[in-house]
């Protein structure tokens, strides 16, 4: 892409092609001999990481689409069956869902790198604007992808976001109807989102080509912000940049694999494991983490239209960055003030993200307004002002000078560090306040689960006992509709033989038909049948249980959770704590108390439960000591029952957890070795360039 190449392949067949289509010359000039500044640091590998992520998302997405059904009644189930029945379906889904988060994480690093080193400045304005367009397309794609599983958060996220457009005067309502294809979010909405979710990634790929083209015309920026002048300032793209990018991608894959294999639901919302229900709104509608700063801006402006405008201008303002920041020095390395403000801006964005996830009340609203002001002030006041008043340090004459003059001394941005620490401290303090204010329910106590941690396995005995408890107690009211009898004999499950599973199935009566005379009939269950539900439909379940339908238990341990609060959710990332769901379920089963404490009134027909949100639960105390007889001598106590049935329900929610963790260990061994090999190869290649 940098002018005509004189590349001549030696192979005659390739020569024949090259004379007719000079594609090899194009690749050679763009990705082999292309001169790249020799002082690039690892922040520059995020371009390659993003290309890798885009490829990954398209590849996994195309395969997922082969198994997905875009219909309001079937979408949720098709995703669940994909995870359970398709070969490595759980891996594909985790790669795609976590991949979206990793894609956004990488794009934020990439954008902040551009911001810090002034990569948007002359002559790279078009390159930067193309980047903003890619980011906007990514946001649209990510949003529509999140709608496809058709869980509660998908549905209500779609409702809230499409309703943003109704704020537009005069035409707003018709635009929303056009987006919905109906009178509310429904099946036509899901269909068009699926179509667009498949289309947009290819548009992104197209704009990425333009982005790379513009990059190769203007040349790469570098940490010192001086353009390459002589040949001494650059190294050829291959092998130098290629191998360095390879090492960067390998390290990034380690982080990616951490999520895929060990924390697949860490970044998701438990509510999305509840099928979409247009009649029930979740108490907190929260978008995915990568939209949270903009969601916080939307909510901190009290007027609806102004909020929507504020949110969109927070992104569009990036397009004008090349002209808002008129400073001649590109890199913040040589701009003592800009450097400080950059880190303050990063802190503002992170805090806005935190606020986006909090309920919009009290201190959070005020903090949101202050931070929204800070966000815009950075672009509209700080950057234009700095260009006038700041005295930058002298920049080196050339890149090779900068590389030679590199000293070990690094000045820490003291002021901004102090500010970031102060902000983090206040965040911590406020989260304690909110925990105190949250009197709705007690935090469930933690349990020791056999399936926790990177090498966790299900306790076979607990699974078998849990199945017994489910069959004798829970099954009277709760369905288990995603579990088939054949699953009981599958690896990583309760460890029954195929014959045992078949015998278990034949105890059940399953409705089948119609037969030759057109009648429905009952027959004994077969291994391929699913657990029959106790009620024919939700209305019947509701009517039989005082207005509250007992939820299906297949996914209950993933569909329930509780907030961990500010410091804990960061600790959880490292300890791989993923058991909020099981802890909650076990706690609710044991949390019944005969008498509500002073000051808590429980409505007629409800029961007091210590851990249920709001304390009033419609389910009567389900378990009591000695209710289920165990054959293996385990204690017949409520605590043991609760633990066993929760283990069983964790397995029904995630039958492939053992193979996920096992494969994860293998992938980690491979990736660590691979990353080391890449690192040493990179060192060798760059040995004479430093």
């Amino acid at each position: 892409m940098s002018g005509p190449s004189d590349y001549q392949p030696s192979n005659p067949a390739l020569q024949w092609i090259e004379r007719r289509l000079p594609i090899l010359g194009l690749v050679h000039s763009s990705f082999v001999i292309y001169p790249t500044p020799r002082n690039l640091n690892y922040w520059w590998t995020f371009g390659a990481i993003l290309s890798f992520m885009l490829g990954m998302q398209i590849l996994t997405g195309v395969i997922l689409a082969m198994h997905y059904t875009p219909h309001a009644d079937l979408a949720f189930k098709s995703v669940e069956l994909l995870v359970r029945d398709v070969n490595y379906g759980w891996l594909l889904r985790n790669m795609h869902a976590c991949g979206a988060s990793m894609f956004f994480f990488a794009v934020y690093v990439h954008m902040l790198r551009g911001l810090y080193y002034g990569s948007y400045k002359e002559p790279r304005e078009v390159l930067w604007i193309l980047g903003v367009i890619i980011y906007l397309l990514m946001m649209a794609t990510g949003f529509m992808g999140y709608v496809l599983p058709w869980g509660q958060m998908s549905f209500w996220g779609a409702t809230v976001i499409t309703n943003l457009f109704s704020a537009i005067p005069y035409v707003g309502e018709s635009i929303v109807t056009l987006l919905w294809g109906g009178y509310s979010v429904g099946n036509p909405t899901l269909n068009r989102f699926f179509s667009l979710h498949y289309l947009l990634p290819f548009l992104i790929a197209g704009v990425v080509v333009l982005h790379v083209w513009a990059l190769h015309v203007a040349g790469q920026n570098n940490p010192d912000g001086v353009e390459p002048k002589t040949e001494k300032d650059t190294v050829p793209f291959t092998p130098h940049a290629t191998i360095k990018d390879g090492f960067g991608v390998a390290c990034f894959m380690l982080l990616y694999a951490w999520f895929i294999f060990y924390m697949p639901n860490y970044l998701g919302d438990a509510d999305n494991y509840i099928p979409a229900n247009p009649g029930v709104t979740p108490p907190h509608i929260v978008p995915e983490w990568y939209y949270l700063p903009f969601y916080a801006i939307l909510r901190s402006i009290p007027n609806k239209l102004a909020g929507v405008i504020g949110m969109f201008s927070a992104i569009i303002i990036l397009c004008f960055l090349p002209w808002l920041d008129a400073a001649r020095t590109k890199s913040s390395k040589y701009r003592p003030l800009a450097k400080q403000f950059f880190w303050i801006f990063v802190a503002v964005c992170i805090l806005l993200g935190y606020l986006g996830a909090q309920p919009p009340e009290g201190i959070y609203v005020i903090a949101g307004r202050v931070l929204t002001f800070c966000y815009f002030a950075y672009f509209l006041i700080v950057l234009p002002l700095l260009a006038r008043i700041e005295k930058p340090r002298p920049v080196p004459n050339s890149i090779s000078d900068a590389v030679l003059a590199k000293t070990g001394s690094r000045s820490t941005p003291m002021v901004s560090t102090a500010i970031v620490l102060a902000l983090a401290g206040s965040l911590f303090a406020s989260s304690i306040d909110s925990a105190r204010a949250n009197e709705g329910s007690d935090k469930p106590p933690g349990n020791k689960w056999s399936f926790a941690g990177p090498f966790g396995k299900y306790d076979r005995g607990a699974l078998q006992r849990g199945l017994k408890v489910y069959k004798e107690v829970c099954a009277n009211c709760h369905g288990l509709s995603y579990i088939a009898f054949r699953n009981l004999a599958e690896a990583g499950g309760p460890g029954y033989s195929v014959a045992q599973a078949a015998a278990f199935a034949s105890d059940y009566k399953v409705k089948d038909g119609p037969n030759d005379t057109g009648d429905m009939f009952e027959r004994p269950g077969r291994p391929a049948d699913y657990f029959p539900s106790p009620f024919p439909n939700e209305q019947a379940a509701r009517a039989a249980n005082g207005g509250a339908a007992p939820p299906d238990l297949s996914l209950i341990t993933k569909a329930r959770s509780y907030g961990r609060g500010f410091p804990m959710f960061i600790v959880d990332f490292f300890t791989q704590y993923q058991e909020q769901g099981p802890d909650y379920v076990a706690a609710v089963l044991q949390g019944f108390e005969d008498k509500a404490p002073e000051g808590v009134t429980i409505p007629e027909g409800s029961y007091y439960n210590k851990y249920f949100p709001g304390h009033a639960i419609k389910m009567p105390k389900p378990l009591s000591d000695g209710q289920v007889t165990y054959d293996d001598g385990s204690p017949a106590t409520v605590a043991q029952y609760a633990k066993d049935v929760t283990t069983f329900l964790m397995w029904t929610a995630e039958p492939h957890m053992e193979s996920r963790k096992r494969l994860g260990a293998q992938v980690f061994v491979f990736l660590i070795i691979f990353a080391f090999l890449m690192y040493f190869t990179k060192k060798k290649v760059w040995a004479d360039s430093h």
Binding site: N163, G182, Y183, P188, P278, P283, R299, P360
Partner: protein
């Protein structure tokens, strides 16, 4: 990309029988995929809705303009919060009306916005009384 013919056909008017709804109760029906709250208001609720100084409301509208005259006890509103489209809960909040759990908007017993971020009152769908105990929505 506008709604197709079958979607429009499914959005045809529906008739709702009001006779089983006792005073102080409300029912939720779905029309065009939207929840419609039909409240049989008590005397107290009607009086509260009418005692308010209309000009002081964020979206000024008299209670008389939001119900059909002669059927003042019946309030029919689309149960979609005018803020960002969540479904408010009936009989909650400080105004004997509706409370939206998403962002804390509160509506009174006439479905008018009283507190919170929502900009407008709960909309009244097009409907008329076919008989004293039956309405047609749409």
């Amino acid at each position: 990309m506008n709604p197709d013919a079958s979607t429009i056909a499914a959005g045809a008017p529906i008739e709702v029988d009001l006779s089983p709804v006792a005073e102080g109760q409300d029912i939720k029906v779905f029309w065009r995929g939207k929840p419609i709250y039909i409240s049989h208001r008590t005397k107290k609720q009607i009086d509260e809705a009418r005692a308010v100084n209309v000009a002081s409301l964020p979206d000024p509208q008299a209670d008389e303009a939001r119900v059909k005259s002669g059927h003042d006890q019946w309030l029919v509103v689309i149960g979609i919060c005018t803020h960002l489209g969540c479904i408010p809960i009936a009989h909650e909040g400080n105004y004997d009306g509706f409370f939206c759990p998403c962002h804390g908007s509160q509506y009174d017993s006439s479905g008018r916005i009283r507190q919170g971020p929502a900009p407008a009152n709960l909309p009244v769908p097009p409907y008329q009384f076919v008989s004293d105990t039956k309405i047609q929505i749409g």
